[in-house]
């Protein structure tokens, strides 16, 4: 039976959600107009005052804010509350290397942790579960967010943080951890390692995993579910908006419910800024309607996904977003063709290999070149050079049919691809350097 952390709000009817959003949006716009000069200037430039915003139907009138705005306003320019009322920061390095620092009041932390608690309960978590959190702790939101959520649910929280695989496995087995929270690539790695150590899925006590903070494919989900013997749930979030739990997967495993009582989602055409209807892929935009310290309005996430208001079998009524298929800034245009890293991941997974890759784009003699570095895995290796080359050629062929353009495949040593804060660096675009 489906369980909920806050059934009243998670399963509220559309009119109630709408009413909450209208009320909170109006209040939030007034708040930023008064407290954040940056917003007042932006609204004035657009010829708007708070009295122009009567409901969410007026949301589209408000100007967007972008990652560049965050950079320009770093560190205190977007503060919506005096520092005296702020209790925490979290920070992330953007893909361009510029840091984002987000502020939280205690109220903001509570909202965030509640969202994570909803995600944990949606994954089957109760106060009897042992939740092992193998996301990094510290400035990164992954560890602290799920940690707070797990406390709210009343689960036994095991804050292992990331890394030290053998110790992670020791805790899973010794404490009989039932829910694992980490990045999908780390879950895949843990699974491989446990398999190597001789653990079969039915010996592994885990029943569910909550995985996010990087792109992963359905193939990867199936793979992780098989090796660890679990059901794998998505979680989505970003530091700018709060952290993990902005949206989360449910038993339907078909999109992630956005916590609409806190965040309004829109999908826009990244070129024109026009709001797109349900089902159409575009850039995801969030408005925080009840956050206090870092109240972003129409923040462009650069994530590409679509929304659906269709009824979900789990009983939750909040809008669902598809798993992002890429980022506007990850989307590579190579010889005029749009390429997303997730497509490369799919090819690798379909061939039975771990998705440890890096894309290197360059321009040689005015032609774009695409070189996919793939870490050698035991599955790909044989004692016969000819067979390895054959497998390399199969990857070249599969990439060609997936992407519609020819890529070079370079086999590299295991664990040789650079990682940054636990996330593999997937793209190196030398055309921009």
């Amino acid at each position: 039976m489906e369980r909920y952390y806050q059934k009243d709000i998670e399963c509220a009817d559309r009119a109630s959600i709408q009413a909450i959003q209208d009320e909170r949006l109006i209040k939030q716009v007034r708040h930023v107009w008064e407290k954040v000069p940056f917003y007042r200037h932006k609204m004035e430039e657009a010829g708007l005052t708070p009295s122009d915003i009567h409901s969410t139907a007026d949301l589209h009138k408000l100007p967007f804010i972008s990652k560049d705005d965050l950079k320009d306003q770093y560190p205190y320019g977007l503060l919506g509350k005096p520092l005296k009322e702020c209790v925490r920061i979290q920070s992330t390095s953007g893909t361009t290397g510029k840091r984002v620092v987000a502020f939280y009041t205690q109220h903001d932390i509570d909202i965030w942790e509640e969202c994570c608690a909803r995600a944990i309960v949606a994954a089957g978590g109760t106060d009897e579960d042992v939740v092992q959190i193998s996301y990094g702790y510290g400035l990164f939101t992954g560890g602290p967010g799920l940690n707070g959520g797990s406390h709210k649910v009343g689960s036994l929280t095991v804050p292992t943080s990331s890394g030290n695989t053998d110790r992670q496995i020791m805790f899973i087995m010794d404490l009989q951890s039932t829910i694992l929270c980490c990045t999908p690539s780390y879950a895949a790695y843990l699974g491989e390692r446990m398999k190597e150590m001789g653990y079969t899925p039915d010996q592994i006590p885990l029943k569910a995993g909550i995985f996010g903070a990087e792109a992963w494919s359905e193939e990867m989900r199936t793979d992780i579910e098989k090796t660890l013997g679990i059901k794998a749930y998505d979680i989505y979030g970003l530091t700018e908006i709060s952290g993990p739990g902005v949206s989360f997967g449910c038993s339907a495993q078909n999109g992630m419910h956005i916590n609409e009582d806190h965040f309004i989602a829109e999908v826009i055409d990244p070129e024109t800024g026009e709001v797109l209807p349900d089902g159409e892929y575009g850039e995801l935009v969030f408005t925080c309607i009840d956050k206090e310290a870092f109240p972003l309005i129409r923040y462009r996430t650069r994530d590409i996904c679509y929304l659906t208001h269709e009824k979900c079998s789990c009983g939750r009524t909040h809008v669902r977003m598809s798993k992002p298929k890429g980022r506007t800034d990850d989307m590579l245009i190579i010889r005029g063709v749009n390429v997303f890293p997730s497509q490369i991941e799919t090819v690798l997974m379909n061939n039975g290999y771990a998705a440890n890759y890096q894309i290197i784009v360059d321009r040689v003699n005015n032609t774009d070149t695409l070189d996919v570095h793939v870490e050698m895995t035991p599955e790909m290796f044989t004692d016969n050079l000819g067979e390895i080359q054959e497998r390399q050629n199969v990857l070249v062929d599969d990439l060609k049919s997936m992407l519609g353009l020819k890529a070079k495949v370079t086999l590299v040593a295991p664990k040789s691809i650079a990682r940054s804060e636990g996330k593999a660096v997937r793209i190196i675009d030398k055309r921009k350097i």
Binding site: M376, M380, D383, N384, L385, L411, A413, P414, S416
Partner: protein, 144 residues
């Protein structure tokens, strides 16, 4: 009776072979034989160690991709035509050699060892032995 060989994936970059031998040395693995096969970008190091499973474990712990397979190790006397005679036997018995490499056997007779990778070491070996070839066991290798 065939012996175990470890194959290791190496990228063709300065220092990668040294990294591998460094790991083995740090864990007191004694190499009996080593050969390299390579393309422009990567290669396979094939090695026979005194303790195969210890060597395999330390390599995997150091993040090398490595596999184990069976090969035939035969003694080749230090006399003219010895290798030719040996290959003649393989030909007569219709055993196809994928690759081979030599290593040094200690001892007064100064004989050499040859490692042969054949498609099916376990069926090839008795045939070769019946022809009078001296085939080395894993114990022989450990004791070199």
């Amino acid at each position: 009776m065939s012996i175990k060989q470890i194959s290791v994936f190496l990228v063709n970059k300065p220092g990668t072979l040294k990294n591998m031998t460094g790991v083995l040395a740090a864990h007191d693995v004694d190499l009996r034989a080593l050969s390299l096969a390579e393309t422009k970008e990567y290669g396979i190091a094939r090695l026979v160690a005194d303790d195969t499973f210890h060597a395999l474990n330390v390599l995997r712990d150091a993040d090398f991709v490595a596999s184990v397979n069976s090969v035939i190790a035969a003694e080749v006397p230090d006399e003219p035509g010895a290798l030719d005679n040996l290959l003649q036997i393989f030909a007569e018995e219709d055993v196809n050699i994928e690759y081979m490499y030599s290593f040094v056997l200690s001892g007064e007779d100064k004989s050499a060892g040859m490692i042969f990778r054949v498609s099916d070491a376990d069926t090839a070996e008795p045939k070769l032995r019946n022809k009078g070839l001296r085939i080395l066991s894993q114990d022989d290798i450990a004791q070199i």
